[in-house]
């Protein structure tokens, strides 16, 4: 009892040497690997060159942010990012929900488990491998062209990944293919928490399968859907960086150059550290505004929010 009361005194600090010795390395790691980079963001307001230290570089104010608004490449990257994100929201967001609803209708537990297990296998595969498969499949003498030619749908092979046309759709569909099963897990968990009495009552009322889905299942998982939607909206300027790294090439660059890739290109390869940090910070600020906006809107309309 005495111990707890005097927990601030140096006496008790010396009594938890071992405990502090376990906690401090964690603090130190975070200070180095999380907080030093956070502090390093100030180079967005400086003219940092490779020979400078972060503190030694001269301040330049908002010059880099002004430059963003004159940068046509940035707006092109913004257009690609938003285009793919909107596609992803319309295709990639609802599909896991539909998949979870359909999977929930499967009676046989064994079959259900098999389907689920298979469906999230691609989530664990590296984008390098999937990108490699895609590049092979969609090349001019690849599997897809072979199939389309044989079926007489096209008469000349198309270099799907060697042109900007259709790149957005291909990127979004392949990501959906990879993540649909994984995305469904959280909805399936939410569905399994619904009280069976609700369904029994609905059956007594004569509800059919789709009415049960519409009036019971969907409203019951609406909270989960809302939270994931808020997160998806706040992540609208994020693209799948690894996917873009693998699928981007000079021929489709016009459609595949996204903000993350642009920051990487001009920053790491072009050594324009300050400017690319400014672009990254600008993007992060928009993301924060989007998150707060989506959260606030959902609070007002639905009474549900993330925080």
């Amino acid at each position: 009892m005495k111990d707890k009361k005097s927990s601030i005194s140096s006496h008790s600090l010396s009594r938890q040497k071992a405990l502090q010795a376990m906690a401090l390395p964690g603090l130190l790691w975070m200070l180095i690997f999380n907080y030093i980079p956070m502090y390093g963001v100030i180079i967005a307001f400086k003219e940092f060159r490779i020979f400078h230290t972060i503190n030694g570089a001269p301040w330049v104010g908002f010059i880099h942010f002004q430059e963003i608004f004159r940068d046509a490449d940035f707006f092109a990257a913004m257009k690609n990012t938003l285009g793919m994100s909107v596609l992803k929201l319309t295709i990639g967001f609802p599909l896991p929900i539909i998949f979870a609803l359909m999977l929930n209708e499967i009676r046989s537990r064994g079959f259900k488990r098999w389907v689920q297990t298979i469906s999230y296998l691609p989530h664990f595969l590296s984008w390098v491998v999937l990108g490699g498969i895609m590049i092979t499949w969609f090349s001019e003498n690849g599997f897809v062209n072979e199939l389309l030619l044989r079926m007489g749908i096209i008469s000349n092979p198309i270099a799907f990944l060697g042109q900007p046309q259709g790149f957005w759709l291909l990127a979004v569909l392949s990501e959906t293919w990879k993540e649909m099963g994984w995305g469904a897990i959280i909805y399936l968990a939410a569905i399994s928490g619904i009280a069976p009495e609700l369904y029994e009552a609905a059956v007594v009322d004569g509800a059919n399968r789709f009415q049960k889905m519409w009036y019971i299942t969907l409203p019951s998982i609406a909270g989960t859907i809302t939270i994931l939607l808020i997160l998806a909206i706040s992540g609208i300027l994020n693209t799948n960086f690894e996917q873009m790294l693998v699928l981007n090439n000079p021929l489709n660059h016009e459609a595949s150059n996204v903000i993350d890739l642009y920051v990487y290109r001009i920053g790491i390869r072009g050594l324009r550290f300050s400017y690319s940090t400014a672009v990254g910070l600008f993007k992060a600020i928009i993301a924060l505004v989007l998150l707060l906006g989506a959260n606030g809107l959902s609070k007002k309309v639905q009474g549900r929010s993330l925080f």
């Binding site: 111990d3 707890k4 008790s12 938890q16 040497k17 071992a18 405990l19 502090q20 376990m22 906690a23 390395p25 964690g26 603090l27 975070m30 690997f33 907080y35 030093i36 980079p37 956070m38 390093g40 963001v41 209708e105 499967i106 389907v115 298979i118 469906s119 296998l121 595969l125 590296s126 984008w127 390098v128 491998v129 990108g131 490699g132 498969i133 092979t136 499949w137 003498n141 599997f143 072979e146 293919w177 897990i185 959280i186 968990a189 059956v203 007594v204 004569g206 059919n208 399968r209 690894e242 790294l245 693998v246 699928l247 090439n249 920051v263 990487y264 920053g267 790491i268 550290f273 940090t277």
Partner: protein
Amino acid sequence: MTPKNFTNIRQSKQQKSDPFPRINGILMILICFMTLYPVWYSVVISFNDGQDALLGGIYWWPRIFSIESYRAMFSHQGILQAFLISIFRTVAGTATHLLFTAMVAYAFLQTRLIGRKAYMTIGVITMFFNGGLIPTFLLVKNLGLIDNLLVYLFPSMFNFFHLIIFQAFFREIPKSLEESAMMDGMNDFGIFVRIILPLSAPVMATIALFQGVWHWNDFFIGIIYVNEMELQPVATYLYRVIAQNQSSQMMVNMPASISRNAVTSQSIKMATMVAATFPIVLVYPFLQKYFVKGLLVGSIKG
């Protein structure tokens, strides 16, 4: 009685004529097929004679079976080295991450820890804000981790999301065990090592799989921080071969014993991709069980 009978009749009628379960089942099988086939196709091509595969028309099974691509791959110094690096970073990186994050998680959980609130707040902030690509790159560069194997260990040694998952598990361990150990004069580190760790196999497996799969699949650290080819993991090696079209490099330095006709740069690429995926598929049965648990804990707490 009548309404109940009525619904019963309706139900049985529905079940007989309702095409939905069948359609649904077929759709599910179709989804499974669409998921598995691209992977299977890669396996088939990797086991087919390289020149013959270029002619196309192979869908279900190798037309001319050949393991030459694998022989070529395993006799290629660069690829072998890349596999060794991958194994190193997956094993060492995962082990250090597990022990370090679990230790900090346990310490941060103790209510008697002075400064606990501050520690946790500092951690929570890292979940929402980060310095972004360039400041992180500059830090790693200033730490001297460029072209250094330690770059696979230190920057990924700790993760606050994983700390939260660890803590959720540690909370379930009965306090009485720790208390009696403390009576015996054991200090916090002793309790963590001898009491907590042995009881934490499930959560350790979960995080080990999270981190292990990430280490094995990650190619970005190799791209951005490692310039020397000999220090790159197989994922980065594949990235260079696939995205930067350096597959002709794979044909260089091939021993004379490998039949040149049976192997193409395409077929070695496929073989390397399959080999790089194999460990993931191997641990998949364990993976999916623990991953789902971890995902759900993470999403409830986070």
